[in-house]
Amino acid sequence: MESLLHFFDVFISSFDVFIDGLWITFKLSVASLIIAFIIGLFFAILKISNIKILEWIADAYIWIVRGTPLIVQIFILFYGLTDILLIPMFWAGVAGLAFHSGAYIAEIIRGAIQSIDKGQREAGSSLGMSKGLTMRRIILPQAFRRAVPSLGNQFIIGIKDSSLVSFIGMQDLFGVASTMGANSFDYLPYFFTVAVYYLLIVLVLTLAVNKIEKKLAASD
């Protein structure tokens, strides 16, 4: 209970440091989402390629990501990547998060592509457009639009998931809360504080996603 009283002091006095952590969380999330999007798009296209071996590769990737905890993926990529490639910690963290989200985004995009009426593909073909051109110009633009709400949701999940990179030493929001908690030998008020930050971020993003969703629905 004492902790709860400390909470307000902590919330105000730790503002600067948390803003630093917020900035890292933000960079991590955005970078990993962009890369996850590229990974997701790639595997989504493999999955609908109708080429058995490529589908298997995509299935294997998605199976591995869905079959193991995120924290295991982060640690393996962190130790694996930094060991072999010696890439900086930030990018190892981004890689872990992107590797994870990529599988979920692949499924979102695949679902969106397959939800596009096959008449669209046929219309493209009948006009002499190649498969690739039809995909790029006709199917994907529509699929992305349709995927926006799910992608937004995945982004929100990604921000929460990014808290785990603190365990490889990043000073993101959660990392800041852990170290400040450790320094003061009183974790609770810092964890309450960081919970409030996450709640606010998620709230803002949820409202934004809802707004975009409504806009898209209206323009249909």
């Binding site: 440091v17 490889i168 030493g169 170290t179 450790a182 030998f185």
Partner: protein, 254 residues
């Protein structure tokens, strides 16, 4: 005398100017130093800056080597691996010298001495080491305290920092925590309700250096030696810890 030594060391570093480049560093001209940042007062965060005794020692070493210090924060349990794999040049992270660690990294001479201590809640009926049998003892993952705890029990929850263990103890989890006495004292100073129920020995804490990087090890040792002789190390100890813990204690038992 001190001016002599200074000029000495200057001479030394300029002498070894060519060998400096053969340190084989993560980044040229920079000494990449790892510390946990969750081990007050040895390393901890103030704002986004890592400070503490370990950090100060690391910086002093870098200065002696004529390099720019780059501090990296890492989970304690991953630091030895990181040094071993060359992610960090050295670790000034309160590592106790052990045989197992020596298989993975080289250690400098000790830069401080301390003793692992049993901490419990004030109302605990654990009065000394004998009472630990079969109890739940939490320790920091990858620390030397794991083995000490294993002498008494199999129930050893391991966490990522000593502070997590001490916090959990104070909050009512676990029966005891084994950690460094300085850390324990700092925790008590910070208001944590725990008590010292006996020291389990003396340990030597040293700087970890990647194996085979003998020149670097040599240079670190030399720097430490100079700091000890000049009293600089003792100064740092007093500054950060309040007492001088850099002298090898005579009496090893409690």
């Amino acid at each position: 005398g001190s001016s002599d030594e200074e000029s000495d060391s200057e001479k030394n570093s300029s002498d070894s100017g060519e060998s400096e480049n053969s340190f084989d560093l993560v980044e040229d001209g920079k000494l990449t130093i790892a510390s946990s940042g969750e081990f007050k007062p040895f390393s901890y965060m103030e704002g986004s800056e890592m400070i503490g005794y370990d950090v100060a020692v690391g910086e002093a070493i870098a200065e002696k080597l004529g390099l720019e210090a780059v501090q990296k924060k890492a989970k304690f349990s991953g630091i030895v691996t990181g040094v071993n794999q060359g992610r960090y040049d050295i670790a000034v992270a309160s590592h106790t010298i052990t045989d197992e660690r020596l298989e993975k990294v080289d250690f400098s001479e000790a830069y401080y001495y301390s003793g692992p201590v049993i901490y419990t809640r004030p109302d605990s009926d654990i009065k000394s080491a004998e009472d630990l049998n079969g109890k739940e003892i939490s320790v920091s993952r990858g620390s030397t305290y794991v083995e000490m705890a294993e002498e008494y029990t199999e129930n050893i929850p391991q966490v990522d920092s000593d502070v997590v263990a001490l916090q959990s103890l104070a909050k009512g989890h676990h029966d005891a925590v084994i950690t460094d006495d300085i850390t324990g004292l700092t925790a008590i100073d910070s208001g944590l309700e725990i008590e010292n129920r006996g020291q389990l020995g003396i340990s030597e804490q040293a700087v970890a250096v990647q194996q085979g990087n003998d020149k670097l090890l040599e240079a670190v040792n030399k720097a430490l030696q100079e700091m000890k002789e000049s009293g600089e190390l003792a100064e740092l100890s007093k500054e950060w810890i309040g007492v001088d813990i850099t002298q090898e204690p005579e009496d090893v038992t409690e």
